[in-house]
Symmetry: C2
Subunit: 482 residues, 2 copies
Amino acid sequence: MLDLRPVGYVIGLLVACLGLTMLAPLISDLTVNNGHWPVFLEASVITVFSGGLTALSCRNGVTEGLSIRQTFLLTTLVWLALPFFGSIPFVIGATNLSFTNAFFEAMSGLTTTGATVIGGIEALPEGLKLWRGILQWLGGIGIIVMAMVFLPELKVGGMQVFRSEAFETMGKILPRATEIASRISVIYVGLTLTCALAYSATGMNSFDAMVHAMTTVSTGGMANTDSSFGIYSAGAHYVACVFMVLAALPFVRYVQIITGSAKPLFRDPQVRAFLATIGIIVCVLSVFLFETFHGYNEIAFREALFNVVSIMTGTGYSSADYMQWGPFAAVLFFLVGLIGGCAGSTACSIKIFRYQLLFASIKTQIKRIHTPHGVFTPRFDGRPVGQDVLNSVMAFFVAFIVTMGLITVALGLTGLDFITSVSGAATALANIGPGLGDEIGPAGNFQGLNDAAKWILSIAMLVGRLEVLSVFTLLTWYFWRS
Amino acid sequence: MLDLRPVGYVIGLLVACLGLTMLAPLISDLTVNNGHWPVFLEASVITVFSGGLTALSCRNGVTEGLSIRQTFLLTTLVWLALPFFGSIPFVIGATNLSFTNAFFEAMSGLTTTGATVIGGIEALPEGLKLWRGILQWLGGIGIIVMAMVFLPELKVGGMQVFRSEAFETMGKILPRATEIASRISVIYVGLTLTCALAYSATGMNSFDAMVHAMTTVSTGGMANTDSSFGIYSAGAHYVACVFMVLAALPFVRYVQIITGSAKPLFRDPQVRAFLATIGIIVCVLSVFLFETFHGYNEIAFREALFNVVSIMTGTGYSSADYMQWGPFAAVLFFLVGLIGGCAGSTACSIKIFRYQLLFASIKTQIKRIHTPHGVFTPRFDGRPVGQDVLNSVMAFFVAFIVTMGLITVALGLTGLDFITSVSGAATALANIGPGLGDEIGPAGNFQGLNDAAKWILSIAMLVGRLEVLSVFTLLTWYFWRS
Ligand SMILES: [K+]
Ligand SMILES: [K+]
């Protein structure tokens, strides 16, 4: 039998911590004196109390390590428990959402998807705006830790490629997670503060600058306005681009920069491929916009840059309703969203290193055609890639595409139209945020969807954020047999 | 240096044969005395002459075998040369098509895609209707031979799984191709005649029965009316379903039935999975149609059955404009088209055995989570599957999905809308026929698309029919270096 107590203990602690972070929006509401603070007091008490009790009741089962199966269970259950408690302020607060909507919003926040069911965000109490930012910010650091510690251990989606990185000799999984989290936190906090200062410098007010910094470095994409980044200045757009890109690079490289060497960052094949891909796509789209709409000017280039960076990093801000740019742009944004950023960052989707590994494998196979008995091994970052890694990546890719298909069908069955079903499945599974079409496109939101669709999308966000197979594994007979 | 003469010799012979088959529509036009026969005489003379000259000029380089690289080149060049000459009757005949349209139509025919740029098909001279049928019929047998002989040899797309089948001991590639082609031809002709008789029995006139039998057993899907199968009787629909399914099963099983055993057919895991999948999807769609439109009646069941079988086998006939059935049906048909039939048949798309192999690999990986040091091997048909096969299948899947994405972008760039771009790329690459939306959906055709889109789709049909990587291999530096 699987001992669930260590899992319950960690989840309890994390839920309690989430409850403590609710004090931040409480303070924020108190500061502006909008009378909304009791919401966060109540939510905080419930959450700290529930989390604390769970941790206490599981305390006597805690050992130093977690088994692989316990780790699997932990990753999925954490990402179910946190949105559950994170949704409380949306239910009892000024948004007055149904549980379905609130859970969707919290899941969208914590998975750094950024899709929203709230209209009229400008008019929300400060605490709720901040809470959305905090959910995304916590989700972001959670993802990095998960990508650096848990997923390589679970060998899910080929993340074990990154196993022999900076932290490999750091011992058992939970102490290592704590150690990595603290080192990464310094960088994450530093990036967030720098980003907030930069936004302020462009003329954004300090509250918006802070919240947007949180949703930028987490590539979350929730904004304090219904029109996302459309109302902000050119400066803010460029600042956002810089920090969205920084947030989509592997955070282990920043640890290395701090400890003395920037070389690994510039030599990282993921980073190079990621920047090159963004560059090419921005050029193509800029030329397209120059030709069709704006003439040769800065606005067209900036809109191409901002929106491509936003979608490819999986942030999901928008500066314009690119559905107005015609079908080519729509198709392009759809596919750019399926590329994604670098592993070990807050970015999501299929991710560039998987394409690199898959293409390396295809290249090897083509070489074998010419020299059938030659020995060729796919390489990544100069090192040969093991077959188990390729198999994992392949499994991820297939599972991702097939899941996207099934979610599309399920959404279609709830009555959504073709473009909403297809792009909704993609944007949720890839944790991007906006979809395509009038309803869930950059100018719309997810408010008007039916409840069934919202639950399907919530599950899709979870599945996508946990690299698909770590969730599906829990649903197999193999996992549970003793 | 690659010796191109053996390749030229085979292509020349095949082109000359194509020229000879043009005598069939010539006879057809003469019989009904519509004055259109000189078109086919002219086309036939040009084609036989060109093919014969090519073969003759390459004759002194012919050896008994073909190298792997020559085989690669042969498969792609054959499927370029035949549509080129096959398009002549559409240019000089009553259709009076531009070369772009004629090449699209011939490529669509020979790749058994069945997408058409011709409106008013009912009014065409008999010869041209027959010629469309013949192109599909020849394409169908060509595909089976290619899938049974060439692709396993080239190790493209995991087809080498089927290498140790009935014909493995038959020696060198060209004699083997001839031997297999002759054995399969008997079955293919038999199926076609039976199908034609069955259509006649449902009240279809003998000419339509013959042409539709040709486009049914090749899972081609070109019909003699603009409204596809909509005008025919319920009986014709059921007959079509039976023969579409038969045409999508592995033809090697029919060879085994003739030589005495039907067991291999019923034990084939591909066949079981294929039939089970069709069954489930037909049930789901039937219930959906019962609930939303028709009530519990035979028509709703038949429309679900006919159109699902048509799309999943890649035939592409339609009995109704299923775009009217709402977004769920559209999404479902889109994804059903990406499943496909069995390998070694005339069916196309990703094919059911690849999903079986990929899922077997994922299952193995999940088992390893529970028992990390256990030895698990993915199995297919009871036998362990080699890693090279899995790598090939993975390469195919990735190449297929990425190519579909790139074609979608290219189509978007030519100005097609989202649903036309996405479904057009899928339907061409998977060789199905109809797409989605008003323009290229079951009620439309490809006539109104711009020329650039038609060329992109023609290339997509070719690439899809040749299992993607056998074409891409030709575009690499590795292939051409000496
Ligand atoms: K996002
Ligand atoms: K077809």
